[in-house]
């Protein structure tokens, strides 16, 4: 029985699932820093095709390359969501025309249901810290990387008034992929939204 929060990164056969290797440590650091949630000091990598995925209520999936789930992966993802799991998908490309975005959103639509825009006054944005304007922007958006767009909303699939799949075009994977020791150089910790995501996932 897992009694502490474990950050699980989803492994999938296609694409580069481990393109943001420092995000787990950084979010673990933020959860430990701001909350009293018991947390395991290192994350785990869990194959989506494995039943181990059901042991973790929160899972993180990212990458740059096209996503194609196997049938087993689709079945597990469907069951993971139905069992109450929370999957956070972040497009590491930050590009609405990118290969990851197109294929990942198609896979989610095929496996669960189409993603919809999440309103910016959703409880997610007040789950721990308050983000009045919805999802915080990333430096990659503001500096013109990717599609030159600042995405106003996140996307989501909701199940029974809770988010089951949260999808981001904002490239938090780039924004948060640095060693947590370097957080001290930031005037404002940009991983605070990660705390909201984790707290929301654990409380809804």
């Amino acid at each position: 029985m897992v009694s502490e929060f474990v950050f699980a990164t989803v492994q999938y056969d296609s694409g580069d699932w481990d393109s943001a290797p420092l995000v787990p440590a950084n979010i673990i650091d933020a959860v430990a820093r701001y909350t009293s949630i018991p947390v395991r000091p290192s994350g785990v990598n869990v194959p989506l095709a494995s039943p181990e995925i059901f042991g973790y209520p929160f899972a993180y999936l990212t990458g740059h390359l096209p996503v194609r789930f196997s049938e087993q992966e689709r079945a597990n993802l469907r069951e993971f969501v139905e069992r109450g799991g929370f999957l956070f998908i972040d497009d590491h490309n930050h590009d609405i025309d990118g290969a990851f975005h197109k294929t990942a959103t198609e896979e989610i639509a095929r496996t669960i249901e189409p993603l919809r825009e999440l309103p910016n006054d959703h409880p997610l944005y007040r789950a721990f810290f308050t983000f009045e304007d919805g999802p915080p922007t990333t430096s990659h958006e503001l500096n013109g990387w990717g599609d030159n767009l600042v995405h106003e909303h996140l996307l989501a699939v909701e199940r029974a008034d809770r988010i089951a799949v949260l999808y981001s075009n904002k490239d938090y994977s780039s924004e948060w992929s640095y060693h947590p020791d370097n957080k001290r150089f930031l005037s404002l910790d940009n991983t605070r939204f990660g705390v909201n995501i984790v707290v929301y996932a654990l409380t809804h």
Binding site: D16, D18, S19, P21, L22, P24, A25, I28, D29, A32, R33, Y34, T35, S36, V39, P41, S42, N45, H64, L65, H92, N93, D95, D97, G98, A99, G144, D147, N148, H179, P180
Partner: protein
Amino acid sequence: MTARERLARARTLLAAATVGAALLWALCAGMLVYGSLVVAALVGGRWIGSAVATGIAMAAAVTVGAAVAWRARRAWSGSHVALWIEERVPALRYALVTSLEPQTAGTAAALENRIAGTQWEPVIRSAAIRATGIPLAAAAMALVLLVALPALRRPLAAAARAPAGRLTSEGAPVPPVTRLSPLRVRVEPPPYSGLATQRLDDPAGIPALTGSRVVIRGPGRPPEMTATIGGRALDVTAAESEWEVLLIMPGRPAALRLATHAEERLIVLEPRVDSVPRVTLVRPARDTIYREAIGALSLRAEARDDFGLAELRLEYIVSSGQGESFSFRSGVLGTRSARGRATTTLDATARLDSLALRPGDIVHLRAVAHDRNSVTGPGVGYSETRMLRIARPDEYDSLSIEPLPPLSGDTGLLSQRMLIQMAEELERQRPRLSREAVVGESRRIAADQARLRRQVGEIIFMRLGGESSGEHSHEGESPEEHAVHAPPEGRLTPEQLLAAAEAATNRDMSEALDFHGDETPVVAINRPLLEAYNAMWDAGRELDIGEPDDALPHMRIALEAIQRARTAERIYLRGRAPAVIVDLARVRLVGKRDGVDPVSVRPRDDTRSDAVRRNERFAAALERLSAGDASAADTLALLRLDALTDAPALATAIGAAIEALRTGSDATDALVSSRRLLAGEVDTRRTLPAWSLSW
């Protein structure tokens, strides 16, 4: 008017005067009795309740009124009135009394004539005035006595609506006597403050200077009686026939919890803090630099304190040296004993040459005042520090600022995606535009496309060792014109770059002038960008001749190539992901000592604002109040304790509400005031920005 008629009129007047006198005496008696009951309650500490007191006062009033009326009952009798008039008007010679008996016609006429010649009305009027004037004056005096005297006004007002219980000297009836009520409190401020001892009757809170000796007494014996402040138990001793608690007023607001086995009571301790002295260094007024350490320096400092100053002095520190080698010396330039005065001033003169100052030395001047606080102090106040520097001979005496010219232009290149959108828009509008307009707009897009192409060329070659592509800005030139510019040795011409691009995209291998044989590093590393560069050339050509529809396919190829290049750049060449293990103890600042495991982190403090939390607590108290829960007063007391430090107005309003609740009077006004203070000021915001007003 006959004698009988005049007599009847006199009787009516006397009867009315009698009734008025009875009512006035009754009113007077009622007021005096009620006031006496209040005074008796103040003296004896027992209050019988407003209803009972009113009843007693009414009974007294009725009794007195009835007695007066009974005593003057003969005013309703005509014969008695006639005798009363005969007694006071001898000139009637009993004609009036005789006229009331049956008479013969002749006798009656004679009597009428005698009576008609006599005036008794003035006697009647003066008697009526006398009968009503005296009780009227007495009633007025009683009213003035009860209402006008400050010492009785509040007790009367409070008693008028109070239930049975006790009545304090403040006029507040309190619940029946228990071991926790009424309380008598004696506050002895610390001697240095010079304040007098204060006595409080059954207070909800005790305001006192920090360090004051507070003695609380209550009815009954101390056994099974506890007194605690923040979990710390106080001794409860016996004093005469009462229990007694002695405490020293703490530095921060606290709640004194008194409890017996049957009841509990909270008393809010409201410390008044002795402020530190406020010190101002009047002269010198600002920092300055002296060329030489000569002359006299006039100094002046002022200080004030709430309970009296002990001393004011002027201090200095001289720092000498530079770099990492400094030395310091300090001293006092003047001292003045304030002897407990609330304000004092110190004037002094310092001779700079007596301070043995050298060039580069800095004199730090400040004034320091001590108060007489012997309990938590002494409080020490400091003025601002002035710095007087002695200039070095070799230092600059002026500052030169050279303006920096604006940075060279930030061109703000348009992205390929935006150029495509512009070309598409131009193509949509083309049917409505003249040929000249289409060509002009198309060439403007071509110029931007050329700028972007040069940017791509720069990226390609800068990555191969910092070399520029050699393509410089020649706006509006055709490739042929551009070719006449001979590039410096070692750099590529645009044509060579184009050839490399075409070679990279397999369009014309024979023209790859510089790259015979194996693929060059330029091609190997930059294939997608070279393809983009090539497509941009084609797009630029089409745009230059005003054919945006033909340019668009090339522009899209360029965009796609850029995307591919960027995707290629972002792919990680990775092995195993680094395993970062977060040091939770360090992150949570719980540390680790001598092998002891980190303690679990405590929940963070409530991040909601004080106002929000107080609003919630206030709402909870109101709910309990409406449900008749007696603990509502304690909730309000704790809320008041919380507000004492930073919201004194709120604390006062809540205090008034608690007092009203304790006395059983209407607390609505105080609660409304508290809620308004909790809500804070109304925050109004303009719905339109200022600039919109001009629209």
